[in-house]
């Protein structure tokens, strides 16, 4: 049984590489998704996965496959800046502006690509990626982004958390809140760029949203949230690949591997939902509400809304 879960599916080199990539992205997504959850950046992540599309197209037109990452990177950084600017508020709320940037940028990419003959195949692979054909160079890229993001979070993590829990205090202490927001948007953008070519847009959104959301259901302590989120991300990647292999090889049902990773993540989310419900049933009395000196994540809920929501 253990052999069938751990060894057999990953004996072939391409499955081996896919597993390494899925685990790398699972851990990376798990860490970053904690910040996505705290700052409610799910929509920003979704928007970034779409706004990089014209960059992918332009990069490909200019320098073929080698240009894709650079094009995506350029557009991702541009979008991160734009998102930070629009979040400063104004008459139209941030979510509407995000939706317009998302659809507008994506449509530009579609217009560019619609003049090509392989139009539909290009779009499909952008959406769903090809985790099974990921190569060594892409794994190295993902690992490099992972190191970069980990370094940035090690340096800025405290400030980013302060900004998430209490933006007014952060501003009062002299931190530039818009710069911190930009830094986090750039980190999310880097994850999107690292992952989008290998695994496609839909899987990236799932990796950036589901792990922390699942962990948050069962804990409100930050260290546990981070650990749980990383665990869910990595576990989802592995389970998804195993399920896809199992269905395809032993049961003759083709199951897209990217999609089954997402479904594995969502299944873990549902499991967390059940675990949380059982945990509440098991507790006779409600938790003591006296403060115990620990920062609870429930504290964030009233403070860290989008700028427009606080107004």
């Amino acid at each position: 049984m253990l052999h069938r879960l751990l060894v057999e599916p990953f004996a072939l080199p391409f499955m081996h590489r896919a597993l390494v990539e899925a685990l790398l992205l699972g851990v990376l997504g798990g860490v970053v998704s904690v910040f996505v959850l705290l700052r409610r950046l799910a929509f920003v992540s979704d928007a970034l996965t779409h706004t990089v599309f014209p960059g992918v197209v332009i990069g490909y037109l200019v320098a073929q496959t080698a240009g894709v990452v650079w094009g995506a990177l350029a557009l991702a950084l541009l979008s991160a800046v734009l998102f930070t600017v629009v979040s400063a508020g104004g008459r139209v709320t941030e979510d509407a502006t995000l939706a317009i940037l998302l659809t507008g940028f994506f449509a530009i990419g579609v217009i560019l690509v619609s003049r090509r003959a392989t139009y539909t195949a290009d779009l499909t692979s952008f959406l769903f990626g090809r985790i099974l054909t990921v190569d060594r160079a892409e794994i190295v890229q993902t690992a490099a982004v992972g190191v970069l993001v980990a370094g940035a979070l090690a340096a800025l993590g405290k400030e980013l958390l302060l900004r998430a829990f209490d933006p007014d205090a952060a501003a009062a202490m002299g931190y530039r809140v818009p710069l911190l927001d930009l830094a986090l948007n750039v980190l999310v953008a880097l994850v999107v760029v690292a992952a989008v070519k290998a695994v496609g847009t839909v899987l990236v959104i799932a990796l950036l949203v589901v792990p922390a959301a699942a962990a948050r259901l069962v804990t409100d302590r930050l260290p546990l949230l981070l650990a749980g989120s990383v665990l869910v991300g990595a576990l989802g990647g592995w389970l998804g690949l195993v399920a896809s292999w199992e269905a395809s090889v032993h049961h003759g049902i083709r199951l897209a591997s990217g999609a089954s990773v997402v479904l594995a993540l969502v299944a873990l989310y549902l499991l967390a939902l059940v675990a949380a419900a059982l945990g509440r049933l098991g507790r006779r009395s409600p938790r003591p509400s006296t403060p115990d000196g620990r920062v609870r994540l429930s504290h964030v809920d009233s403070r860290a809304g989008l700028p427009g929501e606080r107004a």
């Binding site: 139209v92 502006t97 619609s114 839909v202 959104i205 589901v210 959301a213 049902i253 993540l265």
Partner: protein, 276 residues
């Protein structure tokens, strides 16, 4: 221009969808439901696939599945520890992945998904037009009937509850109306265009208008205008019709964001303005 019958059908569809989305979009923008709308376009995908597999009507499959998704979002958001943005994200990716998994189990997976994304407004049939018109009539009638309550809920939810209205029920009703609009427009115009038409024109109107009534009228006007203009440009330049309409709508918003009186960037930073 618009000489062929397919182009005329496309024109009628774009005008009808533009008008419907304009009215619904006002509620979406006022209540900040853009992300939910985006999620609905993706999460109803399995409904379309299932409908196609079971030989059901696409609208019926997507519509029924969409009701499940709306109820799931409403229920999950109320769980302790869950927060609506992440619930919507989970539902979006999970729903879409389910659709892809279902589709990938079929032979010929590489089949055209681009139509689902950016739509194929040039291939709409008369049956699609009828469905659009029927849904538009129902949704617009419901919005007109509930107008007062929905607007009160958007601006002062506590007041709505205090007056004894069933606030949660009204929320779900609005989400279902948005879902109906999404489900109607996606097969014809695609997910991206559907979101753009719902959000962009209402947001543009918001920059110019102070009253909900004029905002609604302006949103319908902008939507119909960008639809017709985008269709005309795409016919001349031979590029994707749906994507061109989206770009026209986005440009209209960008120009308004820069130039609109009182709320545009140029106005806020005009020279000689006293510092508040």
């Amino acid at each position: 221009m618009f000489a062929h019958s397919y182009a005329q059908r496309a024109l009628v569809e774009v005008v009808a969808v533009g008008a419907l989305c304009g009215v619904v979009g006002v509620h979406v923008v006022l209540r900040r439901l853009s992300f939910f709308t985006m999620a609905m376009t993706h999460a109803t995908f399995p409904g379309i696939v299932l409908g196609a597999l079971l030989g059901l009507n696409l609208y019926l499959g997507a519509g029924l599945f969409g009701v499940l998704v709306v109820l799931a979002v409403a229920w999950l958001s109320s769980r302790p520890g869950a927060e609506q943005t992440s619930v919507v994200g989970v539902v979006l990716s999970g729903g879409f992945a389910l659709g892809v998994a279902l589709l990938s189990a079929q032979p010929g997976f590489t089949k055209d998904l681009s139509a689902y994304l950016v739509g194929s407004v040039l291939t709409v049939q008369e049956a699609d037009l009828l469905v659009t018109a029927a849904v538009a009539a129902v949704v617009l009638a419901a919005l007109a009937a509930l107008r007062k309550e929905l607007l009160l809920g958007a601006f002062d939810r506590a007041g709505l509850v205090a007056l004894g209205y069933p606030a949660r029920l009204l929320d779900v009703a609005l989400l279902l109306l948005i879902e109906a609009t999404v489900v109607t427009s996606v097969p014809a115009v695609g997910t991206i265009l559907s979101v753009a038409l719902i959000v962009a024109q209402a947001a543009t109107a918001r920059l110019w208008c102070e009253r909900v009534g004029t905002m609604t009228a302006a949103a319908v006007g902008v939507g119909v205008g960008s639809g017709v203009l985008g269709l005309a440009i795409s016919e001349q330049a031979r590029v994707s019709a749906g994507a061109t309409i989206v770009v026209v709508a986005s440009v209209a918003f960008a120009l308004s964001w820069l130039l609109a009186p009182r709320h545009g960037l140029a106005w806020r930073f005009r020279p000689g303005r006293a510092v508040a």
